[in-house]
């Protein structure tokens, strides 16, 4: 059974350290697929994104998503990290890495976890503008919801 690691934290993380940790001390892993989500500056308009989360549920929901991925694909390790708080453009927001014996389940699981995380993990983004305005809450995109359909 793949080891699931989920962390919800305000601190930054190092993707290379997380990838290395998945493979440390074992020789059965054939590939690790990782995704790193960053804060965009939206064409220079944004000073920061503020991420609110539902403490407790965020960890539990992402763990449920990871458990579903582990039940669907033959994985050897799965890591998901999501930050909250204020994040400047260029900063890390989310990281998902899936380790497996072969590439196909690793690619599929990483994509599955990201698709569900976007629409099911209780996080909300608020934009802080460079003009000093604390702006609007980012609206959910229909295409994120539609992305879930293909996994049914």
């Amino acid at each position: 059974m793949a080891r699931i690691k989920v962390r919800i934290q305000p601190e930054d993380f190092d993707p290379t350290v997380e990838i290395a940790a998945l493979g440390a001390g074992r020789a059965d892993i054939g590939g690790i697929v990782s995704f790193l989500g960053l804060c965009r500056d939206e064409g220079g308009r944004l000073a920061a994104l503020e991420l609110e989360h539902y403490p407790g549920m965020a960890e539990e929901e992402i763990t449920r998503i990871c458990e579903e991925a582990v039940s669907r694909w033959s994985l050897l390790g799965l890591t998901a990290i999501h930050r909250y708080g204020k994040i400047a453009p260029g900063g890390n927001i989310v990281f998902v890495a899936a380790a497996a014996g072969h590439r196909q389940p690793a690619f599929a699981a990483a994509e599955f976890v990201m698709d569900f995380l976007k629409s099911r993990a209780p996080f909300w983004k608020k934009e802080h503008g460079r003009d000093g305005n604390i702006g609007d809450w980012v609206e959910a995109r229909d295409q994120d919801e539609q992305a879930l359909m293909r996994w049914r």
């Binding site: 989500g37 539902y54 929901e61 989310v94 976007k118 993990a121 996080f123 983004k125 809450w137 959910a140």
Partner: protein, 83 residues
């Protein structure tokens, strides 16, 4: 029951959580939302589009028709925008 709010729902209501004793007529999540709508202007504003509001019971996603009996905490929030 502990009721929690997040993002713009929290901002519109003006508090992150509160204790609410729902009347016996409130059976489902949708009933609870309808009850909250009647608590004042700020609630009516927060829940003006009930169709887009999401809910969780004891930190698990639930549908509007889910019964709330036995749960310790209900949360209302907008569609999520993580990742």
């Amino acid at each position: 029951m502990k009721v929690s709010y997040f993002a713009w729902i929290r901002e519109r209501i003006g508090r992150p959580e509160e204790e609410i004793a729902f009347p016996a007529s409130v059976v489902t999540v949708a009933d609870a939302l309808a009850h909250l709508q009647g608590l004042g202007e700020e609630y009516a504003y927060a829940f003006e589009k009930p169709g887009i509001i999401r809910a969780a019971l004891d930190r698990k996603h639930v549908k509007p028709e889910t019964p709330i009996a036995g749960a310790g905490e209900i949360a209302f929030f907008p569609p999520m925008t993580g990742g």
